[in-house]
């Protein structure tokens, strides 16, 4: 799942649950997730390491 589609779904779910104030917190989590996924310690099925 891309971060963009995840964030969109998460915000919609939070609003459905009556928690619109979660939006800025979820956006902060998305920024953190973007940094995590960009780190060079992540495995990649198409990459050089097995």
């Amino acid at each position: 799942m891309t971060i963009e589609s995840w964030l969109q779904a998460a915000i919609a779910d939070a609003e459905r649950r009556g928690l619109p104030e979660l939006k800025p917190i979820l956006e902060a989590l998305a920024r953190s997730t973007r940094a995590l996924r960009a780190a060079d310690f992540n495995d990649d099925a198409a990459g050089p390491n097995t």
């Binding site: 799942m1 998460a10 939070a14 917190i25 979820l26 989590l29 953190s32 995590l36 780190a39």
Partner: protein, 450 residues
């Protein structure tokens, strides 16, 4: 207030009694707790009963060791049988612990006297102690400021002389942050050394139990008692001459308050003068620590709280509820990425320590923040308080290395600054030997500099 070491000498010399010192702690709690809000539950009757028994046992020749008769406080996250474990939350209303946590069993066996259960950031999920069902705890050095968190009431209780030592928990810095903010010593042992059973969890993969105390020796005595070794004596200090220390400047010294930086550099200079060899080292993936930590702690905490979030959400304080709700949106694949990052960071800290006895770095980038502040200005930019307070401590929850905070002087406003020492994994005693050697030199900075 005297240290545990001083108390023990005077107790055995019959210059004081456990009852007398416990009464003094209770007197201070009565006088100062309305101002500091350090305690949620004061256990006066039980404490006096335990103190009387300690005095009677000693008179009969039964000496349980260094913690015999010592008044201590306990973070209200650990189970003490017959007493509520509130976790500073209305979610826990009506709870009374049926058993002691194993660490509490060990402290009882060591003869400790429990003066009460201390305030904390709700469910240990915060660094300032502001979000508590019982109101914010306050810093004894300046009651308009936070004592740090999450073990803020614990640190305040020792700094204000309401207890000789205290037991805290540390998931991202919750022992070391309040120790630093209140000017005392805080030890996070190596991961897994001290039992976390009978403790309300924040993250079972990051949680630690450990002592906050007035000296390294006291922290050492309480640490050994927590593990069931009540008679242990502090290890010999490591020789200062040739002590190999390393400063991870990149990331760890990038974002510091000017006065915190000055006290830290002064402490380093004193250590060099005393004979320590101090190198620089780099932990390459240090900038990835915050996302790695966040994805682990949020998901772990969300799993524990999921049912209560559905059934009694209104009982959480608003900020803690929102952070817990955020954790429910962490994806499994990102949790696994965070675990991979954790392993990489662990190896890098191991490598940084491979040629050194300890890492040395600041414990807290800023002095204790004002209660209610959401940002603090550093280097001309406003930085979030929560991020800053976790920045230098959470790495070693992620990696599991033992770490301790020690006071290294004060700001011009009289607010404590603190140095952090980090030792090799599963080598907490070796870290304590380093800390015992460094303490006198680091504490040489205990003065107010303009």
């Amino acid at each position: 207030m005297m240290t545990i070491e001083q108390f023990g000498r005077r107790l055995r010399a019959r210059e004081l009694t456990a009852v007398r010192v416990t009464e003094e702690c209770l007197r201070r709690i009565e006088a100062d707790n309305p101002r500091l809000n350090a305690f949620i539950t004061v256990m006066a009757d039980q404490a006096l009963r335990q103190a009387r028994e300690a005095d009677q046992e000693l008179a009969a020749g039964n000496d349980r060791g260094p913690l015999h008769g010592v008044p201590i406080s306990i973070k209200d996250l650990l189970d003490v049988r017959g007493v509520p474990t509130t976790a500073a939350s209305r979610v826990r209303e009506g709870h009374v612990a049926s058993h002691d946590a194993p660490t509490i069993v060990h402290l009882r066996q060591a003869g400790a006297v429990f003066v009460g259960k201390t305030n904390l950031h709700e469910f240990a999920f915060g660094t300032t102690n502001e979000d508590s069902a019982f109101g914010a705890a306050r810093n004894p050095h300046d009651a308009t400021r936070s004592p740090g968190g999450s073990s803020g009431g614990s640190a305040a209780s020792v700094a204000a002389g309401m207890a000789l030592a205290t037991i805290g928990t540390d998931t991202g810095g919750s022992i070391r942050i309040p120790a630093a903010a209140c000017g005392i010593v805080g030890l996070k042992p190596s991961l897994g050394e001290v039992s976390i059973d009978g403790v309300v969890p924040l993250s079972r993969t990051l949680d630690h139990v450990g002592p906050l105390a007035q000296s390294v020796t006291d922290a050492c005595l309480v640490y050994h008692a927590l593990m069931g070794d009540a008679a242990a004596k502090p290890p010999a200090p490591m020789p200062m001459h040739g002590l190999r220390l390393a400063v991870p400047r990149k990331y760890f010294c990038d974002l510091l308050d000017d006065q915190v930086r000055a006290r830290f550099e002064e402490a380093l200079e004193r250590l060099r003068t005393a004979g320590a060899d101090i190198d620089d080292v780099e932990i390459q993936h240090a900038p990835d620590i915050a996302p790695v930590y966040l994805h682990i702690v949020m998901a772990d905490a969300a799993a524990y709280h999921a049912t209560a979030l559905e059934t009694m959400p209104e009982k959480y304080t608003p900020n803690v509820r929102l952070r817990l709700e955020m954790g429910r949106y962490v994806l499994g694949e990102d949790y696994v990425r965070a675990l991979a990052g954790r392993e990489r960071l662990r190896r890098e800290v191991d490598a940084a320590l491979s040629q050194h006895d300890a890492l040395v770095l600041p414990a807290l980038p800023i002095p204790a923040p004002t209660i209610g502040a959401s940002t603090v200005e550093i280097g001309g930019a406003a930085e979030p308080v929560r991020n800053l307070m976790l920045r230098l401590t959470q790495p070693f929850n992620v990696t599991g290395h033992p770490a301790m905070a020690m006071p290294c002087g004060t700001t011009s406003e009289g607010l404590p600054c603190s140095v952090q020492l980090v030792g090799q994994r599963k080598q907490t005693d070796a870290l304590l030997r380093v800390a015992l050697a460094c303490e006198a030199n680091i504490l040489g900075a205990r003065r107010t500099d303009a």
